[in-house]
Amino acid sequence: MKREIPLFVCVVSALAMIIAYYSPKLDWMDDMLQKWFLIIAVFAFILGAISIILVNGNRISKQVPGWGYNVVLLIGLFVTLGLGIFGGIDPKTPFFYIFTYIFTPLSATMFSLLAFFIASAAFRAFKAKTWEATLLLIAAFIVMLGRVPLGELMWSWLPVLKHYSLNNLVENWIMGCFNTAGQRAILLGASVGLISISLKILLGIERPYMGGE
């Protein structure tokens, strides 16, 4: 019951998807399963939110240092959730106001901090210690300057090179040729890995849904 049924469910659902993929007339097999997936996927998000509530509730009840911030977190969560469920989500609602003036700036600014950290990291770690690192550095320089208008302007000042398009060099050769080759090699390797892990799941060798058991 605890081990066999999950394995059975996993194998049957995987086989249904594969069979339906190669036999379009059997679309009905995966159609219903896909509709269910959409519903269950939502509950995965809800599970995540419940986990946040439990962890923060626990910290508040134990009054660990900084528990006031956990109160802020839970207030933010319940107010947004309550307004979204009972007041609707259209642009005239308080929910959308929170989305526009609280969620959007917080989210955008949080990620914008990375601009500062990437500059600091580049200063500290980006050293031409080996020929491989030098190659990486040169490619990064050309792309960084080649993808902005100022780089194109600076290129036009160079005596001989100005007759060749920097945009063409970056787009066609670095991105279109060498980057494509490198990314394709990674993609092919990762795809073989993905198929192999999927086959292991299908055959019951790999059981990630058992939670380590």
């Binding site: 995987a14 946040i52 439990l54 969560l77 080759a181 198929i195 999927s198 849904y209």
Partner: protein, 231 residues
């Protein structure tokens, strides 16, 4: 521009500055904004999930099933089956209760199985075969030498890159060792390009926040100044 808009813009401005204070050092104002962000985003996702998925796809279909069974006397199996999906969803949530957490394996197994079942054929067709086809099938183009050189370089790059990732044999000798070194070179150019693009992405995000201050916050300041008689 209403008062609600101006308050909203100033609130957004305050929260933006609150996050930026972290650049100096960690502080209570940043921590407040950080926790608020996590809370609001979790609340937002749950509310959208309820309104955009649970309401139309789950409750809506169960209502249709109920209506056809009770009012029309027709048992709509397809619509009722959504109830089963809902039960599986609830079983997933039971993961937080240790005594019955094992029941969450059923919906998890279902999701993993469906994902694996789609991945096998789709990855084979749309990624492996399509990418190999594109790499191998356009090499010989005698009428277009420029493209041919480009495609041969691409082919060499992909093959040497794959040789570099092939760890079952030692990367020694002229063929494997040399190819592996060429592969590293191709990968390094690729990583360099990726780094350049990553810098572009991160700077863009900062540009976005400064554009907010210039194009949205600054005009509201102008309005406030004028309304209190300072121009």
């Amino acid at each position: 521009m209403g008062i609600g808009y101006i308050i909203g813009i100033w609130l957004a401005g305050f929260l933006t500055i609150a996050i930026f204070t972290f650049l100096y050092k960690d502080n209570p104002v940043y921590k407040f904004a950080e926790h608020l962000y996590v809370g609001v985003s979790a609340g937002y996702i749950m509310a959208i999930d309820y309104n955009n998925i649970l309401k139309p796809n789950l409750f809506g279909n169960i209502a249709i099933a109920y209506d056809s069974t009770v009012n029309k006397g027709v048992f709509d199996l397809a619509a009722w089956s959504y109830l089963f999906a809902g039960v599986l969803g609830v079983m997933l949530i039971l993961r937080v209760i240790p005594k019955v957490s094992w029941v969450s394996r059923w919906p998890l197994a279902f999701m993993v199985g469906l994902g694996a079942g789609l991945n096998i054929p789709v990855t084979m067709d749309a990624t492996i075969l399509a990418q190999l086809n594109s790499t191998l099938c356009s090499v010989w183009l005698p009428n277009d030498p420029g493209t041919m050189v480009f495609n041969i370089l691409l082919l060499i790059g992909v093959c040497t890159g794959l040789i570099y990732f092939y760890f079952s044999i030692e990367h020694k000798g002229i063929f494997i060792g040399g190819a592996s070194r060429v592969g590293i070179a191709v990968l390094m150019i690729s990583f360099g390009a990726a780094f350049g693009y990553t810098v572009m992405a991160r700077i863009s995000l900062l540009v976005g926040r400064f554009l907010f201050f210039r194009d949205e916050w600054w005009p509201t300041l102008d309005i406030i100044m004028k309304s209190i008689g300072i121009s």
